[in-house]
C-alpha cells in the first residue's frame, strides 16, 4: 500500500522562492545569465539595479509572465516553471498601477476572485480586510480615474492582497509617485510585510527603497546578481566599485591611485596608510586601485598627527546635516558633518580618513580587494 510521504512540519515553506540556473534570452539577446537565487519564507528581498540589468525580467519570470529558456523556478516547494501565473501562488503589483479603468475599486479587487469562483461572502471579507489594512474603505465605490496616484497604487496593492498569496511581487511600485507619497507608501509596504509575513520580492532602481525595505538586497548588473546580502553588508562592504557607487546617497567618493610597499596608498598629492584595512592580503606594490570612502566616514580631527589639511570648496546644507566638499590632492570628496558645524569657504579643514572605512577596488576589474 502506498502512502503519500508525510512532510515534516517546518519543511514545507509555502512562501519560499527558488530560482535555479534561470536563463532568459530574447532571440540572441541574453537578458539573464544562469541565475541562482534563494528567497526564504517571509523574507523581503529587493532586486536593485539600473534599468536594463534584468531585474524586471527576473521578477516577470517568477510571476510566470516571461518564459524561461533554461532552469527552474520553485515557489513554496513546487516547481512552477511551466505553470500559469495564477497557479503559482503569487500576487503582483505593477509600476503603472494597471487598474481596470472601467471597474470600481471594489470591482478591481474582486474580479479576479469572482473569476476564480470564490464564494461571495469570502470575497467580501477579503476586500473588506484589505481595504481596512490599506485605509481605502472610503474609495471602494470610486472608479480609478477619480483617484490620486497614491490611492491607485494602494488599490493595486489591495488587489494583490486579496489573492492571499504567500508571495508578493512588486515591480517598481513607487516609481510613478511623487517623493512624499513614495516615502509614505514605502513605510506602508514595510508595515504590511511585518503584519502579513508574506514573502516579498521588490524590484527597484532606488537604493533608498532597497536599503529601507530589504531583509536582503540583490544588486544586479548586466544580467547577473553582483552582490547578495543584507543592506548593511551591501552598504559597508560592497563587492565592486559598481555596487559601491550605486548604493549610498550621496555616492561614495573615490581616489584613483596605487598601492605601495609598507601597506600604503599613493595618489597625486596623497599618501595614506592602509593600516586597519582588513581584507588587504598580499600586496602587489604598484597595483592601480581606486580607494573609496563614504562621506560620513571622513571626519574632522583637529590636532591629530595624521590629519590632512584640506581646503573647503563647497557646502551643501541638507537640513539635519551638511555635505562639505573638500579637496584632497586632485579630487573633491564629500564629507558629512553636523549641520551646525561652523564653516566658511576656503577654510583648511583637518581631515581624517580612517583606513578601517576604506573600500579598495582593483582599478581594472572594479572588484573589491
Amino acid at each position: 500500500m502506498q502512502h503519500e510521504l508525510p512532510v515534516p512540519h517546518g519543511l514545507v515553506r509555502p512562501g519560499a522562492v527558488s530560482l535555479r540556473g534561470v536563463e532568459i534570452a530574447y532571440g540572441s539577446f541574453r537578458v539573464l545569465d544562469r541565475l541562482d537565487l534563494e528567497v526564504a519564507q517571509s523574507e523581503f528581498l529587493v532586486l536593485l539595479g539600473p534599468s536594463g540589468c534584468g531585474k524586471s525580467t527576473l521578477l516577470n519570470a517568477v510571476a510566470g509572465l516571461t518564459e524561461v529558456d533554461a532552469g527552474e523556478i520553485w515557489v513554496g516547494g513546487r516547481n512552477v516553471t511551466w505553470k500559469e501565473p495564477k497557479d503559482r501562488g503569487i500576487a503582483m503589483v505593477f509600476q503603472s498601477y494597471t487598474l481596470y479603468p472601467r471597474m470600481t475599486v471594489r470591482g478591481n479587487m474582486s474580479f479576479g476572485l469572482q473569476v476564480a469562483g470564490i464564494a461571495r461572502a469570502e470575497i467580501q471579507r477579503r476586500v473588506r480586510e484589505a481595504a481596512a489594512m490599506l485605509r481605502i474603505e472610503d474609495l471602494l465605490d470610486r472608479k480609478p480615474a477619480e483617484l490620486s496616484g497614491g490611492q491607485r497604487q494602494r488599490v493595486a496593492i489591495g488587489r494583490a492582497l486579496v489573492r492571499e498569496a504567500a508571495v508578493c511581487l512588486f515591480d517598481e511600485p513607487l516609481s510613478n509617485l511623487d517623493a512624499q507619497l513614495r516615502t509614505e507608501l514605502r513605510t506602508e509596504i514595510k508595515r504590511l510585510h511585518v503584519r502579513l509575513g508574506a514573502t516579498m520580492i521588490f524590484v527597484t532602481h532606488d537604493q533608498i527603497e532597497a536599503l529601507t525595505l530589504a531583509d536582503r538586497i540583490a544588486v544586479m548588473r548586466d544580467r547577473r546578481i553582483q552582490q547578495l546580502g543584507t543592506p548593511t553588508e551591501i552598504y559597508t562592504r560592497p563587492v565592486s566599485r559598481f555596487v559601491a557607487t550605486f548604493v549610498g546617497c550621496p555616492a561614495m567618493g573615490f581616489i584613483a591611485g596605487h598601492l605601495v610597499e609598507g601597506r600604503r596608498f599613493k595618489a597625486d598629492g596623497l599618501d595614506l596608510s592602509l593600516d586597519g584595512y582588513q581584507a588587504l592580503g598580499e600586496m602587489a606594490a604598484g597595483r592601480p586601485v581606486d580607494l573609496g570612502i563614504r562621506p560620513e566616514h571622513i571626519t574632522l580631527a583637529p590636532g591629530h598627527p595624521e590629519a590632512i589639511e584640506a581646503p573647503l570648496e563647497l557646502v551643501e546644507p541638507m537640513g539635519s546635516d551638511l555635505l562639505a566638499w573638500v579637496r584632497l590632492g586632485t579630487v573633491s570628496l564629500a564629507m558629512r558633518l553636523p549641520a551646525e558645524t561652523p564653516l566658511s569657504l576656503g577654510d583648511r579643514l583637518p581631515v581624517m580618513l580612517p583606513a578601517s572605512r576604506f573600500n579598495l577596488f582593483d582599478a581594472a576589474s572594479g572588484l573589491r580587494i
Binding site: 516577470n60 510571476a63 510566470g64 509572465l65 500559469e84 501565473p85 495564477k86 503569487i90 500576487a91 503582483m92 505593477f94 509600476q95 503603472s96 494597471t98 481596470y100 479603468p101 472601467r102 471597474m103 474580479f111 479576479g112 473569476v115 476564480a116 472608479k143 480615474a145 477619480e146 493595486a156 488587489r159 489573492r163
Partner: protein, 263 residues
Amino acid sequence: MSLTASRMLPNNNFVGLRQYATLIDNGRWQVSVVNLALFGVLFLAASLVLGFILAALIDQRVRAESLLRSVFLYPFSMSFIVIGLAWRWLLDPTLGIEKLLHDIGLTGAHFDWLIRPDRVIFTLVLTAVWHASGLVMAIMLAGLRGIDREIWNAARVDGISTWRTLVFIVAPMLRGSFATAFVLLATSVVRLYDLSVATTNGGPGIASELPAKFVMDYLFDRGNIGLAAAAAAAATTMLATVAMVVAPWFYWQTRRSRQAGMA
C-alpha cells in the same frame, strides 16, 4: 417639392401631404425602410464585433502582422460597385461558389442566398461587413496598441482568461475607438446605394430595395419627382430622429468619461 404633384418635371400643383400618404402606402418604400433598418443594425453590430475580434487576434503578436493588416484592410480600398460586382459573381449560383462546390462533387451544396428574397438582405450585410471590418480592425488595433501591456499582465496574474480580459476589461477601455468606428460605419449605412445597385439592383423583385435607391429610381427612371422628394424628406427626417437620439447620448457618454478622466 414634396408637397407638389411634380412628375417628370417640377410643377407647383400643391397637393399637401398626399405624396407622403402615397409613400407610406407604397409597398416598395416599406420594404426599403425595413431593409435599411435591418441592414443598419446587423451591419453595425457585425462589423464592430468582427473588427474587434480581428484586431484582438492580431494584437496577440501574431506573425505576418503587417501582411494580415493589409489583407483585412484591402476590401475597404475598393468601392462598393467593385465589390458588389465581385460578390455578385461569387454568389451567383451558376457562376460562383455554388458552381465550384458542385463541380468538386458537392452537388448537395446550396449557396443561393443572393437570389432568395428572404435572404438577400443578409447577403448584402455579409458583403458590407466583409468590406468594412478591416477598417474597424485598423481603428480597434490602434486603440488596443494604446493600452498598457501591463494591464494584460495584471489580468493574467489575477487569473482572468484572455477572452474575459478582452470583453470585461479591454473592450470598455476602447469606448472611443468604438464610437469612431460606429460613426464612420453609420454614415456608410445612410448613403448605402451603390452596393445594392451593383449586387442585386434591388432584387430579386424588390427584396433588397433601400431608401436611397427608391429615391433615385423615382427621381430619374420613373419620373415622379414629387414622390421622390417626399421619400428623400422622409428618409432625412428618420435619420435626423435617430441622430437626435444618438448624438446627445454620445455627448453625454464622452462628457462623463472625460469628467471621470479629469478628476
